[in-house]
Symmetry: C3
Subunit: 343 residues, 3 copies
């Protein structure tokens, strides 16, 4: 698909510097791009690459100079995303219809324009909203409800009675609605506690690959509207995650913890169970949170502390080897002074 | 299903306080429950909710007072589990029989009353015990042996020759018997070391979602009887895990480590390879164990230490920034004293 | 298969001590082996077991003495691997051909002698090299390219356009080519940034179970030739991993980080995004790297430091509780000395 830089400026609401008639066929990274391709720059770390890129044009933040035709916008990441989608680089989606090898219960409700791929299983009483896309080899359990426009990649499991909102994207290998980890131990035997609740994934959520979200013991485990969850994240039973949260790969949230809106958990961070984490809190990478976190709190370390306190302790720790020597020197000198004072 | 509180007392062996004729239809959480539902309280943190719950009755530990009809028991968690199961809140299970789209080798042995779901594959020489339930899209490898009453959720892989005991539950996405991580490096090439052993999962184990258990290099990787393993846990080759262990989400055990009975590993904790961990040891969250652990040892930190030592160090670290200032003050004062002493 | 110790010596290029006519049927571990089996010893920790093993022979490093017939070699791990493979202990592989329940697009290209298992889906435009083995329930996306001799275990997902090199082994539950985690946030909404790149897995790589490798935003995420990746590892979008790396279970590499050749990441270690990690660097278990790492650097701790610095700090921290007491003693003594000096 060929468009001009002027066309793209109209699409994303930016302004052109240089030749607006430059023809663009595709998007590409600043290192990889060649003639006919548009690239972008969001991270200043890569600014020197503007001098050497072979791209025909670049998407840049307003005011940033560049030696090639430029589409100048407020948010380059966002604008470039729209450009990429317009130029057709998005993922291929299976065509509407039910593949003959899929197994869809006659008791399931299937909306309009739905795609159901090869080997996908939809159990009795399940419901698929309009324009839902289920790739091959997906499992949708009894009475599960999937909203309009969901995009479910191959080999996802959505267990019975769970609810997945509109436009939710779920990547391969992810399991929604596995049993929570709960046992009542008596006489050395761990008796399984039935997990009779469900998972509710609200609208516009995206779940990465090989994520696990356990169903509630009773009631609901909730992933709030517009939250985005990266690969290999664990969400325990009865967790309630707010809206717009970002959970980076391999983070984990233990059972019954409540997480506010727009909370960020970096990679490999963990929250123990039964906590309250306030809105807009930030949990840095590998941090292990064991206490409630106030709104806008920034936590680091394992066990976690307020980030400032943590950095202060780290800084002082780096001075400790020298401080121990100083203590030994002080000891010698004080001993000498005491000897003299007595003498 | 409608029962009275008196009926439930007979079922779980508790005593009723208040109206035993209260009719109960379902279980629910203390916040979510309404009329006709019974709830419970195991964590004192939520005791204030007893005043506001709309539940018709509550399961409580002996001696705890409550303003609503109460089923008083020794172990509320355990009793409530039995009540939930009695009231029919358990997961739906596929009916006995082989789905026409399943691929079961004629050389496989299938017990009585077995369910094999759509798209499930059972290879030659595999054996399924009586009452085994295999959901859709499961893979059972050649000569794998599954015991009576196993419950295997969708998209589980059990590789060739592995053995899974009676009543074992395996959640979706879990892989039993993948190759251990072993290479012999020569001339800059990592040559694969064949992993010719198996995995033995003993009776009454439960494995969460997206767990990985590697087969032994030779001999067996063992998950001991009644152990419970949460989501996204890694068990390396030749690990021997004792009975009744609890491994919380995202924990990992490296190759050839031996773990005793009733060991608890909290979330994101790790054990390096070739260790011995004694019975009833507790490894706290995110702890990284690099040395043998004695029986009943409690380990924290990365690298791990005895928990008391670790807490002492953490406490002293919190005093370090102030201590460094005190050292500087002492230095000034000692220098002054020395000047005077010389003067 | 029966062979003599002399036969095995010719196979692996070692020398025999003791009776070369000893008949060997199978390999086994030093504890498990019995008559007719050959075992080996690579870790000196287990040397005492040589006195009690029931094996008929043992593979040992040159110069190590043993009380039973011995195959003496330079690299016991490597030699034993060859012996195990020769004796036929390797995994069973499905026979060539396409299972009738597999769904292979007429637009896919299938090489010679390929095995495609039950329920496996190969989309339009995909290409499978000669001797490729796809177990049951695998998904190969549109225009994905798999090299000769690949071995893909059940329930692997390879998304559209990704490329997997010759002889690559991928274990169950692994996802290659899921979308990278990228959003442009505006007005409280996280807009998805299209991920239009691919994943390139070079020749002779092995990926463990439940691994996730995200496709690039544009360009390529690369797993370099001969690298070996353990279970549950996360590789973010646009990561470039060099040759011969070893990434142990549950490690994670965030987006756009470049990792050199022969880098080792131990279990549960993490690298944040946009880093450069030099050749032959070693990242110890649970370490969290937040800065570039020089070639041959050894990093520990979270946040990571040079290992020597880290160990020095840990050693000094262990002395801190006592040092705090010493500081209090010094304070008392200095106060006394000052009182006397003034008096």
């Amino acid at each position: 698909m060929d468009v001009t830089l002027d066309d793209l400026a109209r699409l994303v609401g930016g302004t052109v510097k240089g030749d607006g008639r430059t023809v663009i066929r595709a998007v590409n990274g600043i290192r990889e791009a060649g003639p006919g391709e548009i690239t972008f720059l969001a991270n200043v770390k890569y600014a020197p690459l503007l001098a050497t890129t072979k791209a025909s044009a670049v998407v840049l933040a307003d005011g940033t100079p560049a030696p090639i035709p430029t589409l100048s916008v407020r948010n380059p990441d966002l604008a470039f995303g729209k450009v990429a989608e317009h130029l057709g680089g998005g993922a291929w989606r299976p065509p509407p219809g039910v593949h003959p090898s899929a197994v869809v219960s006659p008791g399931a409700t299937v909306g309009k324009n739905v795609s159901i791929g090869a080997g996908t299983v939809v159990e009795d009483g399940a419901s698929l909203g309009d324009n839902a896309v289920l790739y091959p080899q997906v499992y949708v359990g009894r009475e599960a409800v999937l909203g309009a426009g969901v995009l479910i990649y191959p080999q996802v499991v959505i267990r019975e009675r769970c609810r997945v909102g509109a436009r939710v994207i779920v990547h391969s290998g992810t399991v929604i609605g596995s049993d929570g980890f709960g046992y009542a131990t008596e006489g050395g035997v761990h008796h399984k506690i039935p997990q009779v609740g469900i998972v509710v994934v609200e609208d516009d959520v995206e779940l990465g690959a090989n994520v696990t979200v356990d169903r509630a013991r009773f009631g609901r485990t909730v992933i709030g509207r517009g939250s985005k969850i990266d690969n290999l994240v664990q969400i325990g039973h009865n967790v309630v995650l707010g809206q717009g949260c970002l959970l980076v790969a391999q983070a984990g949230v233990a059972g019954s913890t409540k997480v506010g809106n727009y909370v960020v958990m970096a990679g490999q961070a963990g929250l123990i169970g039964h906590l309250d984490v306030g809105d807009q809190a930030i949990i840095t990478a590998q941090t292990g949170v064991t206490k409630d976190v106030p709104a806008k709190g920034v936590m680091s370390g394992s066990p976690a502390q307020d980030r400032r306190t943590h950095l202060k302790e780290l800084a002082s720790l780096s001075k400790l080897p020298e401080a121990l020597q100083e203590i030994r020197r002080l000891r010698r000198e004080v001993d000498e002074l005491r000897k003299k004072a007595k003498g």
